[in-house]
């Protein structure tokens, strides 16, 4: 059970693992020692309880890391507000503005081409919008999905990087309380 729990700890954000990982393993070890002499059913129940707790805890920590609040925390939060320590990376804002500007420019350019072609080349005739078939629509949706996924991944990556950076900044001031590196 302990080794499985060790692996489950990797589901937590690195900052949480660094700060509490060793402690959590020590508690899990004591828990395991405590249930060693009980019946198999009780051991199984205790193990399942710990596993569910770790999975839920990891999810909560990720939500907390991303949004700055604990939606399903043990402690109900009545102060649903952005925490001061949570900052959206500046690079993400610039990236999103840049993408939006590029999309708007592409639309405007396409409109200009559509309007200019019939005048410049009358033999070509007016440009008609593309008639999508089912397969093209599916392919287009797939491509859009990939693009959205890639952008989402980039945003998450930027968030994670900024989190790691903030942790690095915090480390010297927490020198006494952090208790060394994680060895799990």
């Amino acid at each position: 059970m302990l080794s499985l729990c060790r692996y489950l700890l990797y589901l937590y954000p690195p900052a949480h693992r660094y700060e509490y990982g060793e402690e959590m393993i020590a508690v899990l070890r004591e828990r395991q020692a405590e249930t060693r002499e009980t019946c198999a059913m009780a051991r199984w129940m205790a193990g399942a309880h710990e596993i569910v707790g770790l999975l839920r805890g990891a999810l909560q920590e990720h939500v907390r890391a991303a949004t700055g609040s604990h939606p399903w925390a043990v402690i109900p939060s009545r102060r649903f507000a952005m925490r001061s320590e949570f900052r959206f990376p500046k690079a993400t804002g610039w990236l999103m503005t840049l993408i939006l500007a590029a999309v708007v420019m592409a639309i405007e350019k396409a409109k200009a081409i559509q309007a200019s072609i019939p005048e410049a080349h009358p033999q070509v005739g007016p440009i008609q919008p593309e008639q999508f078939t089912f397969l093209t629509s599916v392919a287009l949706l797939f491509v859009c999905g990939c693009v959205v996924g890639a952008v989402g991944w980039a945003v998450l990556f930027a968030l994670r990087r900024s989190g790691v950076q903030r942790l690095e900044e915090l480390r010297p001031s927490r020198g006494r309380s952090s208790g060394g590196g994680l060895t799990i």
Partner: protein, 107 residues
């Protein structure tokens, strides 16, 4: 205070730290003991709650001894004690009202 009422696990965690500082496992055992085994916190749940209490500065974390391998322990801050006093006062008042209402009226 906007933080009240506290959930039962949080109230029990804070109560477990009233008498003396404790480390993680000791908090778990004390919570179980105080609730007669009704509230059994998992390690993941406990550390989620401890982290939040640390963020809110209701508790603080320190090393039990000065060695680098010393276990981390937790103790109540003055803010935590104040919150706990308010919550216990609220519960007392609630219990008083409930006990008055629940007593069968004599005809």
């Amino acid at each position: 205070m906007g933080s009240l009422p506290l959930s039962e696990p949080v109230l029990l965690i804070l109560l477990s730290l009233v008498e003396r500082p404790r480390h993680g496992y000791s908090i778990l055992k004390n919570v179980e003991e105080m609730s007669d085994g009704r509230v059994t916190l998992s390690t993941g749940t406990l550390y989620g709650a401890l982290r939040r209490l640390l963020d809110d500065r209701w508790i603080e974390r320190f090393k039990e001894d000065e060695s680098s391998r010393g276990r981390q322990a937790y103790r109540l801050t003055s803010r935590g004690r104040q919150i706990l006093r308010l919550e216990v006062g609220r519960l007392k008042q609630l219990t008083r009202v409930a006990s008055l209402r629940m007593v069968p009226k004599e005809m």
